[in-house]
């Protein structure tokens, strides 16, 4: 039985360096499919969908709100052709009711241990319109190695350099951060995977460079330290979100191959300055993630924040505008205050202002967002800063003999497309 699994494309933010990473949701979901199912995977961000490819059942996996409308259009096309379509993934959970209008079935929750039922129902012609397991997370021990074999790896390669593979060591989140829906999606308890399962999966990943996508590793210090200790012999190099601000943990993280972290920079305090310095002291790079447009930010606050970023020696910075995604506190607050003026989900890309900010006009916030990108990368471009960070990891790999030269066969390709060189 052929299951056509599709990851819809979305429009990337203008003016930013775009690297297409292999998706994580579809490969994790594919690992939970019954043995009799053959997966045919298409990531529309790197290849076109052939709607005529033979298949028995279609799955659409959506992570981002900006994938929703495209995912619905794909489903409409397949359903016109008589195929049954099921949706899953984070975005599906956030937009379940709307998605149901374009689906034969919608799956909410985590797929481990659930897919036998779904596929058995499909084969019997008894597919349910909704499988709602949002509140019933499977035991974390059931999470096995993701099915990265379904990816066409050469499509995630830029001029011979393989992109990082995505990986997760835990689920759920004990924090309820203002703009975040993770606790709604993955449960309000931090659920770390058993260390032996994590190591087993890591050992099976061909790629030496990883992105650990967990919301925050800094939720259970004991487990975090055990995780890093277990990762040291693997000699992987990795990117992650926040790591516990503790010298012992940072030291272990560095030994375990921490390359750089995403660290939220929300004010201009000495605490933030020292936090960044402490990462750097252990050789860990920092990409600041800066959210613009919070109700307590004035225009001056935003400008001061950008000046501050230039002072604290960040390796990279990523700016986003506050975006009220469904099932977050910010969404509820904005709905109550009738402040969302743009409900086109394609614009919920964290680069477009879709709501009325508290202390300025939407147009002014949009200008400040553009100003932030331009100012931070004025003296050194984003590509140049990325190259510096990349060079650091190459050096470390050379030191521990894990460096793999770029794939010469792909130096003229970028994400599956021919590289166009401007020759003078």
């Amino acid at each position: 039985m052929i299951f056509k699994l599709i990851y819809p494309k979305w429009a990337k933010l203008e003016g930013q360096t775009t690297f297409t990473l292999p998706p994580h949701g579809p490969v994790v979901m594919a690992a939970s499919l019954p043995d009799y199912v053959t997966v045919s995977f298409t990531d529309e961000n790197v290849e076109d969908i052939n709607f005529d490819d033979p298949c028995d059942f279609v799955g659409i996996s959506m992570m981002l709100t900006v994938q929703a409308k495209r995912g619905w259009a794909i489903a409409d096309e397949y359903r016109k052709r008589g195929k049954k379509v099921i949706f899953g993934g984070i975005c599906t959970m956030l937009h379940a009711e709307e998605t149901m209008e374009h689906a034969d079935s919608v799956f909410l929750g985590e797929s481990e241990g659930r897919m036998e039922e779904v596929f058995s129902d499909f084969l019997k012609g008894q597919l349910k319109p909704l499988y709602n397991y949002l509140n019933e997370q499977p035991p974390i021990e059931l999470v096995g190695p993701a099915r990265r074999d379904i990816l066409k790896r050469e499509l995630y390669n830029h001029k011979g350099v393989q992109m990082v593979d995505l990986f997760h060591a835990s689920r759920g989140c004990r924090f309820s951060c203002y703009p975040c829906a993770v606790s709604y999606l993955g449960g309000r308890c931090f659920r770390p995977r058993p260390i032996d399962k994590v190591v087993e999966e890591l050992e099976g990943i061909e790629n030496n460079r990883l992105f650990i996508v967990d919301n925050s590793l800094a939720q259970n210090k004991e487990w975090e330290m055990e995780l890093f200790k277990a990762m040291i012999p693997l000699k992987k190099k990795w990117i992650s979100h926040t790591i516990e601000d503790d010298p012992k943990v940072l030291d272990l993280a560095a030994q375990a191959g921490a390359w750089y972290v995403y660290q939220a920079v929300f004010d201009t305090s000495d605490y933030i300055k020292e936090r960044i310095k402490r990462y750097h002291d252990y050789g860990i790079g920092v990409e600041g993630t800066i959210l613009l447009g919070l109700d307590n930010q004035s225009e001056d606050d935003i400008k001061r924040l950008i000046d501050f970023l230039l002072e604290i020696d960040l390796d990279l910075a990523e700016f986003t505008v506050l975006t009220p995604f469904p099932h977050t506190k910010v969404y509820d607050d904005m709905i109550r205050q009738n402040r969302i003026f743009d409900k086109d989900w394609n614009n919920f890309n964290a680069g477009k202002v879709v709501y009325q900010p508290a202390q300025m006009s939407p147009e002014r916030l949009q200008e400040l967002y553009n100003y932030a990108w331009d100012t931070f990368y004025k003296d050194e471009t984003q590509e140049a800063k990325m190259f510096r960070l990349f060079s650091k990891v190459v050096l470390r790999e050379m030191e521990d003999n894990t460096y793999r030269p770029r794939n010469r066969g792909l130096v003229n390709k970028s994400f599956g497309k021919d590289v166009v060189r401007n020759m003078k």
């Binding site: 949002l134 509140n135 309820s176 919070l294 307590n296």
Partner: protein, 123 residues
């Protein structure tokens, strides 16, 4: 529970979006014929939909569970003080108005209440 319990008499289990099991804090005060209902968001202690995402449905579920007349119900949503360093988690109260047609509540609209306005309603 992390939410301030000042206006929580009991926990109320309700059906959230798509029937999702959900939980909120509940306080009901009778003032003559008027039933003042205060529902409190529990954040980490609510496993399902937020109170705001299902306002009309939740108000109906409470009215039915406690035999409250819709016409005599004053419905207030409370975001409790979460003792957070972030201002987004300070205590807030919203009076919610609905259209009541065909035995159902629709089109909720929210009005933020100052502390004095809130006090005047419940005292």
């Amino acid at each position: 529970m992390k939410a301030s319990q000042e206006h929580i008499q009991q926990l109320f289990d309700f059906k959230g979006r798509l029937g999702l099991a959900s939980k909120c804090g509940l306080y009901i005060k009778q003032k003559g014929e008027i039933s003042i209902v205060i529902v409190t968001e529990l954040y980490q202690d609510n496993p399902g939909s937020s109170i705001t995402s299902v306002t009309a449905s939740l108000a109906m579920q409470i009215a039915q569970a406690f035999d409250i007349s819709i016409e005599n119900m004053v419905y207030i949503e409370s975001s409790p003080d979460m003792k957070s360093k972030l201002s987004f988690y300070e205590e807030e109260y919203y009076l919610v108005n609905f259209e009541y047609t065909d035995n159902s509540l629709q089109n909720p609209s929210w009005k933020k209440l100052s502390k004095d306005e809130f006090k005047a309603i419940i005292d």
